[in-house]
């Protein structure tokens, strides 16, 4: 397979070098797995309770990822290696392989970087936690699973990493399982994503039936060549997208993500920025050539993403829990990435994944710092914190501005590329859905700036409304914040329109690179910044100055507020429409089957065993024991008779002996 791709690259006119380090990138996922094992078994005996091993593993992984990425950027062809994992009769084999290209390279840098910072941050945040060692072991496993998913060269291996990520998220969301609510949230996350995973699995099966292989590169190649296609391919692509909808919390399976806030805040940062929810976006990006050639599949992606981004952005406006604001923001931003892929703006979508990881991790870790200081998740318990927590305040503002898309922060470049891509697709008429994406993307950009303004105002301005005296967090927590703040400011420049290296790195062959265009590269960005600034201005006026007071609880818009505050009643719909009917009707059926069928079988087996035991008991008592006791009794009785001969008088014995000899001699003599 490697040779095949290298040949293809050579034919396409690229000079092909094999990297020194890129060959060995499989070490990067291996490290966190090893550290998870080491921490799990020996962590409690270590002086630092295990965190040093975990941090060292991802730090080495991060260094390797940077080196590997540098080699990719220097023009080395991507590396694909595969070994046979299982071989089944009939010539069908499962591969176990690595596929390291720019997409994987970007993901590696993001995952290891965020994981490293989150683990450093957690030494402060989780310091007094009972299950500190366990927490670090699962964090390592989480990171390892995500890297395993990213490096997979085939869909089955990807599924393994995918489920590994799901299990680890279950452990981490339910970290404080002593409270029922938290363990329920963990179960909700696990089961909701499982709904999507069923689609993902059937998508893999369908693709295997269609293409006869699990290999990602080969499937994409076959789709591009038109060897596979038609309705079957569309269905397969949509099934794969089901998995992405579950994992990336898109409508209608987004309900788990806000509840996943029950986990410790560093975990939320990791889930939202690097290791879990972006897996769905990564899947679509990885299979992008397939989606492109799968008929209406990409349009479905675009529409689902448009619905999700608007819906989540509105929800973020009415939350009081600061982590929930960020959670809905994540859903909305993931939808942004999906929408970018949906209109064919592949580069922009993946670049937004990259920049979003930086500022969303920053915002989550910042909110963790706030929660650590205030001991409450609710913004109604905060306020005025800019005086008490200057570092958290400054970094949080940087993150918010990056998310809102203010020039020249990271979010500006990637978001702008997406809006530009949608406009291009719409005006050139490639895709009918592009107009929908464009409108929702612009509205969402406005809403994003608005809800972040609201969150910042409620948190940092006004009077302190909580209890106790908040104070700035420890250095281990503030340092990662500043590192991420710097990253949020700088990484955007990698994607400067036209000249940014990202356009070369994340460029799909067969898609034209856009040249400089005054409208797309100057007017549109200026417009989007103006839009964001106006949203911030309006937000400042409404939430800080208190103008335009709308009575949301009474008044003419109360019904709308209730509708949004109840999350569009989607949770209720799922509970009443799906969970309860299944719970009650199926519970009865299951009870009947359990009572009549399973219990019948079990009881029958028990009765049969009992009867058999009775027969065996009779045989044992009456036959075997009789033989044994009889033998012993005969021996005893004969011994009791014969003992009288043993008088102890040697001369008596000798007399018997001689008498016997005489008898024998007589007998011989007479015959």
């Amino acid at each position: 397979m490697t040779d095949f791709l290298l040949l293809a690259a050579e034919e396409a006119g690229h000079e092909v070098h094999k990297g020194t380090f890129t060959e060995y990138m499989w070490i990067v996922p291996l490290l966190p797995f090893l550290s998870a094992i080491v921490i799990g078994f020996f962590g409690k005996k270590m002086k630092n309770r295990g965190h040093a091993v975990g941090i060292a593993a991802v730090a080495i992984g991060f260094a390797l990822s940077l080196v590997g990425f540098a080699e990719l950027a220097a023009g080395n062809a991507h590396v694909e290696k595969a070994w046979t994992w299982f071989e089944f009769p009939g010539g069908f084999e499962l591969e176990f392989g690595m596929n390291y290209d720019f997409l994987a390279g970007v993901m590696f840098v993001v995952v290891t970087f965020i994981s490293m910072l989150v683990q450093i941050y957690s030494t402060g945040y989780m310091h007094d936690d009972e299950r500190y060692t366990w927490f670090y072991a699962v964090l390592s496993l989480f990171t390892g699973s995500m890297l395993f998913l990213v490096i997979a060269n085939n869909l089955t291996q990807m599924l393994v990493g995918w489920e590994g990520v799901g299990v680890c998220s279950y452990f981490l969301i339910g970290h404080y399982w002593e409270e029922k609510e938290n363990s329920s949230a963990a179960m909700k996350a696990f089961i909701t994503t499982r709904v999507g995973d069923i689609g993902f699995m059937f998508g893999i099966f369908a693709l295997f039936v269609l293409a006869g292989t699990f290999n990602v590169g080969e499937i994409n190649h076959l789709a591009e060549e038109g060897e596979i296609g038609g309705t079957a391919l569309t269905v397969a692509a949509l099934l794969l997208f089901c998995g992405a909808v579950g994992k990336s919390a898109q409508f209608p399976l987004h309900v788990w993500l806000p509840d996943a806030m029950a986990g410790p805040t560093p975990v939320s940062a990791l889930i939202h920025a690097a290791t879990m929810v972006v897996a769905g976006v990564y899947l679509v990006a990885r299979m992008f050539p397939l989606f492109e050639h799968a008929g209406a599949a990409l349009d479905v992606v675009a529409i689902i993403a448009s619905i999700t981004m608007l819906m989540a952005a509105v929800l973020a406006l009415v939350q009081d829990d600061i982590k929930r604001v960020l959670a809905y923001s994540t859903i909305s931003q993931l939808a942004y990435m999906m929408a970018a892929l949906g209109v064919g703006a592949y580069t922009a979508g993946v670049f937004h994944l990259f920049t979003h990881a930086m500022f969303k991790a920053l915002l989550f870790l910042g909110s963790g710092s706030l929660i650590h200081a205030v001991h409450s998740n609710n913004m109604s318990d905060m306020g005025g914190l800019r005086k008490y927590m200057p570092h958290t305040f400054r970094t949080f503002i940087i993150g918010s501005l990056a998310l809102a898309g203010i020039f020249p922060l990271a979010g500006f470049f990637s978001k702008d590329e997406i809006i530009g891509g949608a406009l291009r697709a719409a005006s050139e008429g490639h895709r009918a859905t592009a107009w929908i994406v464009l409108v929702s993307a612009v509205v969402t950009a406005f809403l994003t700036a608005l809800y972040m303004t609201r969150a910042c105002v409620k948190t940092f301005w006004g009077e302190y409304r909580g209890h106790g005296h908040p104070h700035e967090s420890a250095g281990s927590m503030v340092t990662p914040l500043w590192i991420l703040a710097i990253a949020s400011v700088t990484v955007g420049f990698l994607g400067v329109p036209v000249i940014g290296p990202v356009h070369d790195w994340l460029h799909l062959p067969g898609h034209e690179l856009h040249g400089f265009d005054p409208f797309y590269n100057l007017i549109l960005p200026a417009g989007s910044v103006l839009l964001a600034l106006s949203a911030i201005f309006i937000g400042w006026q409404v939430f800080h100055k208190g103008r335009l007071k709308v009575d949301v609880l009474g008044g003419p818009f109360a019904w709308a507020y209730r509708f949004v505050a109840n999350k569009y009643y989607l949770d209720e719909l799922y509970i009443r429409g799906i969970v309860r009917p299944i719970q009650y009707s199926w519970a009865k059926v299951a009870y009947w089957i359990n009572q009549k069928v399973i219990d019948g079988i079990v009881n029958g087996a028990g009765t049969a065993t009992l009867g058999g035991a009775r027969v065996a008991y009779t045989i044992d008592q009456d036959v075997v024991d009789f033989a044994v006791n009889g033998a012993a009794g005969i021996t005893g009785a004969s011994g009791g008779l014969l003992k009288y001969i043993q008088t102890g008088n040697v001369q008596r014995y000798a007399a018997v002996l001689f008498a016997a000899v005489a008898v024998f001699v007589a007998a011989i003599a007479l015959t």
Binding site: Q646, G648, N649, Q651, A654
Partner: protein, 101 residues
Amino acid sequence: MPVSYFLVLSALLFSIGIYGVLARQNAVLILLSIELMLNAVNINLVAFSSMLADAGLDGQVFALFVIAVAAAEVGIGLAIVILMFRNRQTVDVDEMSLMKW
């Protein structure tokens, strides 16, 4: 000289030995009687050896073996008798009836 003379002597000697073993109560005398029986056997062996000339000296050599073994046996037997006397202050075999049920 016919061999039957020797056989009659041997039989008499053996019978005296059996009587001694069965009737005497003194352990030392029982040992002596056993020696008589062994010597009766020796006479038999030597007599038949000289009668059957082509058998060579087999019978006489065998008699020498019996004498040697008898000496060893008497040594052990007397040692047992001495120990018996030391422990029980008697050598009467009727008193030695502990080895019964």
